[in-house]
């Protein structure tokens, strides 16, 4: 494993080793430069940090608890002690708001009155609409019609919060197409609009900015586990679509070489069926340029992007953040697949054993943590799972699946 302690990631040109970069039309390039400059100025600005911290504390409800899941730990066996980092208890019900508040403040600093966003499961859309309502920004969210159908409650929430939800019908009408549409809108209105991208994807500096805002998850978890166990964990685990909740948890532990990282990708109906969202952890995975950066991506032999498939709208994305590709390439993290069917087992177990209804996305990580991880770790291991979101948005899907 190549550990590069203290090394700057990304480098000054926005690359993580061979991954990342700024593959965008020239129209957007200067906006990326301006964004990076303002972000750096803001990161060093004590007033800004104070404002963000106050919002995260009083508005979002941070720090979120690190909860010891006794019954799931018993199910896992091998003496494993499973802790859940409760991002589902954030205002709006998922980790997404950590990023949207930070970026909405950034939009104000950039002097841009209008914000756009893409959304898959709707959690990022809701978190963006929330931040915009709070800070008085105009908000438009692009969402594939397929996702509008399967995440209806979140569409209504966005509209209640004053956002315009624009249906996207191009391509496969899911998250990747919503992202295309948001990028196109940004090209047309880059002068007055900031694009709040929802994950650690896209052109530099987005993957870095989103990672930094989400790193509050890992910083808190690190202090909390030291308090609870008096030592660092043996492993961290989280689901990976674009990869923002996982990177938020992993990043502050990067230099702790003994802490293993596990990313869980959505295997959909199974790798052999071709209907999945496993961008990294498949033997045939290959890097490509998609949505502005170089990273692993599902693609054909002719370099066309292949639509992903997952029961979970938030993981239904053919790409993955460039820093995850770097983690995979250097061996810092391992990426494992979990099918739709197994994720639903994770949902059911967590509901009845812990009294918490998890989001479908989170359930992928829950299944792997309880059923696979104990076999791979020494006895009595301490594990932190990023409980990225609550399952209210998925209850219709659960009802449909569990009635079968």
């Amino acid at each position: 494993m190549t550990l590069v302690p203290g090394a700057q990631r990304p480098d000054t040109t926005g690359h993580y080793g061979e991954f990342g970069g700024r593959f965008v039309p020239e129209t957007l390039f200067q906006a990326l430069i301006d964004l990076e400059r303002e972000y750096k100025a803001m990161a060093d600005d004590a007033d800004f940090q104070e404002e963000l911290t106050a919002l995260l504390t009083q508005y979002v409800g941070r720090p979120t608890p690190l909860y010891f899941a006794r019954r799931l730990s018993e199910t896992a066996g091998n003496g494993m002690r499973l802790y859940l980092k409760r991002e589902d208890l954030c205002h709006t019900g998922a980790h997404k708001i950590n990023n949207t508040l930070g970026q909405a403040l950034l939009a104000k600093r950039l002097g841009k009155p209008r914000v756009i966003a893409e959304t898959g499961a709707g959690q990022h859309g809701v978190a963006t609409a929330t931040a915009c309502a709070l800070l008085g920004l105009e908000c438009e969210v692009f969402m594939g019609v397929e996702d509008i159908e399967r995440q209806k409650p979140n569409v209504l929430r966005m509209q209640l919060l004053g956002a315009k939800v624009t249906p996207v019908t191009s391509g496969t009408s899911t998250l990747k197409d919503a992202t295309n549409e948001a990028l196109r809108d940004w090209m047309a209105r880059v002068d007055d609009t900031h694009y709040i991208i929802g994950s650690v994807v896209g052109p530099h500096p987005f993957p870095m900015i989103v990672r930094d805002f989400q790193s509050v998850i890992g910083r808190e978890a690190r202090a909390q586990i030291l308090e609870a166990e008096g030592r660092l964990p043996d492993a961290l685990i989280a689901c990976v679509g674009g990869g923002s909740n996982s990177l938020g948890l992993f990043h502050p532990f990067y230099d702790d070489a003994d802490v293993k990282f596990f990313g869980v990708e959505a295997e959909g109906e199974g790798l052999h069926t071709g209907k999945h969202a496993v961008a990294i952890g498949d033997a045939s995975s290959q890097p490509g340029v998609f949505h502005g950066s170089r990273s692993f991506v599902l693609q054909t032999d002719d370099g066309q992007i292949v639509p992903a498939h997952s029961i979970s709208a938030g993981l239904d994305y053919p790409g993955v953040g460039p820093e995850h590709s770097f983690y995979a390439r250097t061996g810092r993290a391992r990426y494992m697949p979990v099918t739709d069917e197994r994720a639903l087992i994770g949902v059911k177990e967590t509901c009845v054993q812990e009294g918490i209804i998890p989001a479908l996305e989170t359930a992928h990580a829950l299944y792997y943590a309880v059923h696979e991880l104990p076999k791979q770790l020494p006895p009595d291991s301490v594990v932190i799972l990023c409980f990225s979101g609550r399952g209210d948005k998925d209850v219709q899907t659960y009802q449909r699946c569990f009635q079968k």
């Binding site: 039309p25 200067q30 047309a188 370099g303 066309q304």
Partner: protein
């Protein structure tokens, strides 16, 4: 000097402007593309941008998204697109540039695609999602083979960036006339002349202007300030229109396009 550089030099010496036409390769079929390429040259097109369709074209509006999607459904590949160029070379010296998102080229292999494009008779590449900062490898591969690598400039590019892009761009410089995606517009951007003026202040290389140019009147306006006028979506729309009106053969579509292309050429 390759075909692109020679063409712009001859135009400049003759006091003329170049008509640059974009087509989506493989739309509505690869055979149509093969039939169309030599015709475009015959009707007055000075440079062809042969568009490689991509599944997720972020810089393209609905028209080119549609034609790209149709071409992909019909099974077009990079290799098949290259096969449309040698037949043109038997009849015409019209420069052909491959216009492609970077991913299909990376998957093919940048050196391999450059070698094969050169062998097929292509003259360069235009890769809209590769800005100057990501272009080092493509630049050296193209320059070793005397292929042009055209970079794009935009209304949002500050003058210092314009200078650096112009220096790196070979063949010509593409100026994106509008914020937003490709597609026909009703008017030409008001700041066009100013921005081209800025560009002229930092380079002597030819400048061609695209995005939103659709009518002979637009072409005439743009030609007053640019060395080349680029029409794309409007041409694709004409093909679509012909098909919608019942054109059931390549000849019938070509017959519908001819007066339009000739009218653009005459406007210059």
């Amino acid at each position: 000097m390759n075909r692109i550089e020679r063409m712009f030099q001859e135009k400049r010496q003759a006091g003329q402007k170049a008509l640059v036409l974009f087509i989506t390769a493989g739309y509505p079929s690869l055979d149509f593309t093969k039939a169309l390429l030599p015709k475009l040259a015959e009707w007055g097109c000075d440079l062809v941008e042969l568009g490689v369709p991509f599944s997720d074209p972020i810089a393209d509006g609905p028209t080119i998204q549609y034609s790209s999607n149709e071409a992909l459904k019909a099974g077009v590949t990079v290799r098949k697109i290259l096969s449309t160029i040698p037949p043109v070379r038997e009849r015409s010296e019209v420069p052909v540039i491959l216009f492609s998102a970077v991913n299909p080229l990376l998957k093919y292999g940048l050196e391999a695609i450059a070698d094969d494009a050169k062998a097929a008779g292509a003259d360069g590449f235009l890769i809209p999602d590769v800005p100057l900062e990501e272009g080092d490898e493509a630049r050296s591969i193209c320059s070793e083979r005397e292929l042009s690598l055209v970079f794009l400039t935009a209304p949002t590019s500050p003058v210092e960036r314009l200078r650096r892009i112009a220096e790196a761009s070979t063949g010509f410089i593409y100026y994106i006339a509008q914020r937003g995606v490709t597609g026909a517009r009703t008017e030409i951007a008001a700041d066009l002349a100013d921005k081209i003026g800025e560009l002229r202040g930092v380079t002597d290389k030819p400048v061609a202007v695209g995005f939103g140019v659709s009518t002979p009147e637009h072409a005439r306006q743009v030609a007053q300030v640019a060395d080349g006028v680029i029409v794309g979506s409007a041409l694709i729309n004409k093909i679509r229109e012909a098909i919608a009106n019942g054109a059931d053969s390549d000849e019938a579509i070509l017959a519908h396009l001819e007066p339009y292309v000739r009218s653009l050429a005459e406007a210059l």
